[in-house]
């Protein structure tokens, strides 16, 4: 993985020192809250419902064991012993004290991490396919490009005060695991005439006006990528609306001006700035690529190793759901679920972080990833080591066998923590997961993406859930709207709102009616919820959710 250069170390150290002085000036009264707020937000520090929250970037979701150990140390020393992994491959600490934050940032800097540009109207943490570098279906590892974009966008002088925040996601695989069509810019690696480049998708996003991104260019050659991105962001910087924050994202700019006009402007800007890129960016990319060379892998699994799969039923169940095919024969990608039924989606305790770090050291070539689905990935595990990895995960209470199933729920922190939330998400996720565990139906239901957001900002990606739940306030109480048929994959789709919301005590029974009804509606056991929805349309599912209306009719 990428190792900081002297410049990177110096830059991050300077920012820590600056913020330390800013916190001191806030505490001694030299800075008002009005003056301090933009400074703390530049360093990822929010004030939430019960406490401060520090959001730390995990660039393109990549961590090593030393970093994971340091996160464990931080949450034990300065927080409440756990961290929350988010849908943007960040980690959030929910209880830091203001005066401790400079020390936390220093501890992060010690392991080449930071919280810079995890807030504010800047280019945020660049996210990527969590299987990058390991996926059997990818063209190439997209992370060197993601790192190049991180370096280009960090402290980019032109892009520190954009009309609104700006999110970029990158995938090297046609099987989109990075939700590229729901980002301000989504990059999908493609090849044309033997040379590598990217399809550039622009103007996707969820939130109050969900939109699927549009292709701005089907192929930008690798050597043009950075000037092209700079052309897109500088076009948006000038054209994007600053009069209304709800209309300030590039998805609205694209919608209001049309993709053709945006393309024209971007092309003109690209022609202007391309000559200014002297090739230093490509040299830098070459240097970065050396950091992402795959680890020295062991020989392919010895004959018979696959039989270890058939050990216990629990191991087999875990193997069935949590293992993905690797590009290298003899290896597997292990997804570690942070969604044990009843637990908070995306939370890991310090002990669990240390266990993951140890497993990565012992069996995983020191590599860890955080997925936007709020799970942890071990991208390089030898097939022969799977039983030991499973045992170690079990000891750390991390062996839940539910990846891609109904209890593998994405949930934002909701009103349990977030100052913007309009309702809670976590208890709804906990109740749904424990309810379906009790029904022992999870494996029978099969692949199902259930995503919950606690407000219209949609951090829980509810619009692209096969089943989405949006928590709102209605007449002074929490109310939950259901959307159906969303999809975060390569052919992303925004779900359709099924009807009026459900009260907090009605939402789990509503989901149960929906799922039990689906089991009757599906053509056979191989037809997933989403496939059944696409075949049958909204009506029969709506009837399951609102049986009274059917009776009244």
């Amino acid at each position: 993985m990428y190792q900081y250069s002297n410049f990177d170390h110096e830059f991050v150290a300077q920012r820590v020192a600056q913020f330390r002085a800013q916190v001191a000036r806030r505490l001694d009264g030299s800075l008002s809250e009005e003056e301090f707020k933009p400074l703390r937000l530049m360093n990822g520090l929010y004030l939430q419902l019960h406490a401060y929250m520090l959001r730390v970037a995990i660039p393109y979701g990549t961590l090593n064991s030393r970093q994971m150990d340091q996160l464990a140390m931080i949450v034990e020393r300065w927080d409440k012993g756990y961290g929350h992994f988010t849908t943007r491959q960040n980690i959030q600490f929910n209880w830091p004290k203001l005066e401790d934050v400079p020390d936390i940032l220093q501890a992060l800097a010690d392991v080449e991490m930071h919280a810079i540009q995890t807030s504010g109207n800047t280019i945020r943490n660049v996210t990527a396919d969590h299987f990058a570098g390991a996926a059997a279906d990818e063209i190439a590892d997209p992370r060197p490009v993601a790192e190049l974009i991180r370096q280009w966008s960090t402290d980019h002088p032109e892009f520190q005060f954009l009309p609104r925040k700006f999110k970029i996601a990158v995938t090297g695989s046609p099987h989109d695991r990075a939700v590229t069509q729901a980002h301000d810019i989504g990059l999908r690696m493609t090849e044309q005439n033997g040379s590598r480049g990217f399809e550039v998708i622009v103007g996707g996003g969820l939130g109050r006006t969900p939109m699927i991104g549009k292709t701005l260019s089907p192929f930008v050659p690798l050597e043009d990528l950075l000037p092209y991105l700079e052309a897109v962001v500088s076009t948006y910087n000038l054209l994007g609306r600053r009069d209304n924050k709800y209309k300030a994202r590039i998805k609205i700019t694209t919608h209001e001006h049309g993709i053709d006009e945006i393309k024209q402007r971007v092309d003109a800007q690209f022609a202007k700035i391309k000559p200014m890129f002297s090739g230093a960016d490509l040299q830098l990319l070459k240097d970065i690529e050396r950091h992402f060379e795959p680890p020295k892998l062991k020989p392919a699994a010895p004959a018979g190793a696959a039989q270890t799969v058939a050990q216990t039923p629990a191991f087999r169940a875990w193997h069935d759901t949590n293992i993905t095919a690797h590009k290298v024969p003899g290896y597997a990608i292990v997804s570690v679920s942070l969604k044990k039924p009843g637990a908070t989606p995306g939370d890991a305790t310090a002990a669990q972080m240390r266990a993951l770090a140890q497993i990565a050291r012992n069996f995983g070539h020191d590599a860890l990833r955080i997925s936007h689905e709020q799970n942890v990935i071990l991208p390089y595990v030898h097939l022969a080591d799977l039983p030991q990895v499973y045992q170690a995960l079990r000891q750390a209470d991390l062996a839940t066998a539910n990846i891609g199933l109904i209890s593998d729920i994405i949930a934002c922190p909701g009103m349990d923590y977030c100052a913007l939330a309009t309702a809670r998400s976590i208890p709804v996720a906990q109740q749904i997961a424990t309810h379906f565990e009790a029904l022992t139906l999870e494996h029978d239901i099969g692949p199902l993406k259930l995503k919950i957001s606690g407000c219209i900002n949609a951090c829980g990606h509810h619009h692209v859930g096969h089943i989405g739940i949006l928590g709102l306030e209605k007449a002074g109480v929490e109310s939950y709207q259901i959307t159906l048929g969303g999809d975060a994959g390569a052919e992303a789709e925004i779900g359709t709102r099924a009807g009026p919301g459900f009260g907090a005590d009605e939402i789990v029974p509503a989901i149960e009616r929906l799922i039990l009804g689906y089991l009757h509606l599906r053509a056979d056991e191989t037809e997933s919820f989403l496939e059944a929805y696409r075949r049958l349309g909204l009506a029969p599912f709506k009837a399951l959710l609102y049986p009274q209306e059917k009776k009244a009719a």
């Binding site: 008002s32 809250e33 019960h50 406490a51 004290k97 009103m415 809670r424 976590i426 906990q430």
Partner: protein, 98 residues
């Protein structure tokens, strides 16, 4: 002169810890809503809010929160303020640790 009946407390977050706090007249801050001063006069409410906003080296984000006065002290009217007064529902953290 106010004619609209009100029932409010002044609440904010502690600058250093970020914790939710409530004003207890005249100049104290408490972590517990049950110990907060309930204000029923509009002018006094504005005065309390102005006092809190003037305490910018101690508190952040002061506002007036609606409460219902009960025998064991005020209770928040809105569920958001109820969560602020109790802490998160997934762990016994925050005020549940007091």
């Amino acid at each position: 002169m106010s004619v609209t009946p009100i029932s409010k407390v002044v609440t904010a977050n502690d600058l250093r810890s970020g914790e939710v706090i409530y004003l207890r007249f005249p100049h104290d801050w408490t972590l517990e809503l049950s110990k907060a001063s309930v204000i029923t006069d509009v002018d006094l409410a504005q005065a309390g809010l102005a006092y809190a906003q003037g305490q910018s080296n101690v508190v952040v984000g002061a506002y007036l929160s609606d409460v219902v006065a009960e025998a064991d002290g005020p209770k928040a009217s809105h569920f958001r303020d109820t969560f602020r007064s109790t802490g998160p529902s997934n762990y016994r953290h925050g005020k549940q640790e007091i």
